[in-house]
Amino acid sequence: MVNRIGGHSRGAMSVGHKTMAKAEQEKKGTFKKVLSGSVDVALQATSAVAPALLPGGTLLKMGADKLYQLKNGEQAQGQELDKMWQMQQDSQMFNMQYMQLQQRIQADNRDFSAMSNLLKVRHDTAKAAINNMHA
């Protein structure tokens, strides 16, 4: 037992110190990662929720997007967001066109029903008038 305690050399102490420093470093790294993740989540949440909930939310969203880009410092990420934004705009445009098409189809259906009813009633009335001549 004494031997073991006495066996602690200077080198062993040095290794122990280095290990502790490394652990400290890793601990610091973890905190940084967690903080970074939290900031990312906060920015993304702001970007997603702000336009729907807050007045002037679109501006806030743009700001959050920009901050996100700056923070990550990745051009590719910004380009992805731009693409998503563009796709969202395209989607809105297609939705609008689809709605207009549906409205036109409904109007055509109404016209068709009216004309179909007119033809039927027209025929029935002529038939009734002719039958009236037999009486």
Binding site: R110, A114, M115, N117, V121, A126, I130
Partner: protein, 137 residues
């Protein structure tokens, strides 16, 4: 009124014969035998010249044959000869609408509304208004 009185005093058998001719005309028209339908109408008009119905049906046959102008003039004549004929007014209105004379058509529709008597005539008036009432795009 005079025309109506004349139509009522016509021999019922002759009137019935005219009715059969008109029925034949309607069937022929559905079979797209327009010329034969028109001939049947002419026979009906010859049998019952005092009655508005044969003249109206003949105008409808003309319209189906694409002779819109003749149909319009005939229906106009019918509305004057038989002002109490709702069918005449309604079909005159339709001819006006088809000819692009909307205002004249709506005037005829107003006159038709005043003389509609039977349920069929009112139904036709309603269907006509529904079909032509909505503004065209």
């Amino acid at each position: 009124m005079m025309a109506k009185a004349n139509a009522e005093t016509i021999d019922p058998e002759v009137r019935a014969q005219a009715g059969r001719e008109l029925g034949r005309a309607m069937v022929l028209l559905e079979m797209e035998e327009s010329e034969a339908a028109l001939q049947a109408c002419e026979r009906a008009v010859g049998l019952a010249p005092q009655d508005a119905t044969p003249a109206v049906v003949r105008a409808l046959v003309w319209q189906a044959m694409g002779r819109g102008r003749e149909a319009l003039m005939e229906l106009k004549r019918i509305t004057r000869a038989w002002p109490e004929s709702a069918l005449g007014h309604i079909h005159f209105a339709e001819a006006c609408f088809l000819g692009g004379r909307e205002r004249a058509g709506w005037r005829a529709m107003d006159r038709a509304r005043q003389v509609c008597e039977t349920e069929d005539e009112r139904a036709l008036w309603g269907a006509m208004q529904e079909a032509w009432g909505a503004p065209r795009p």
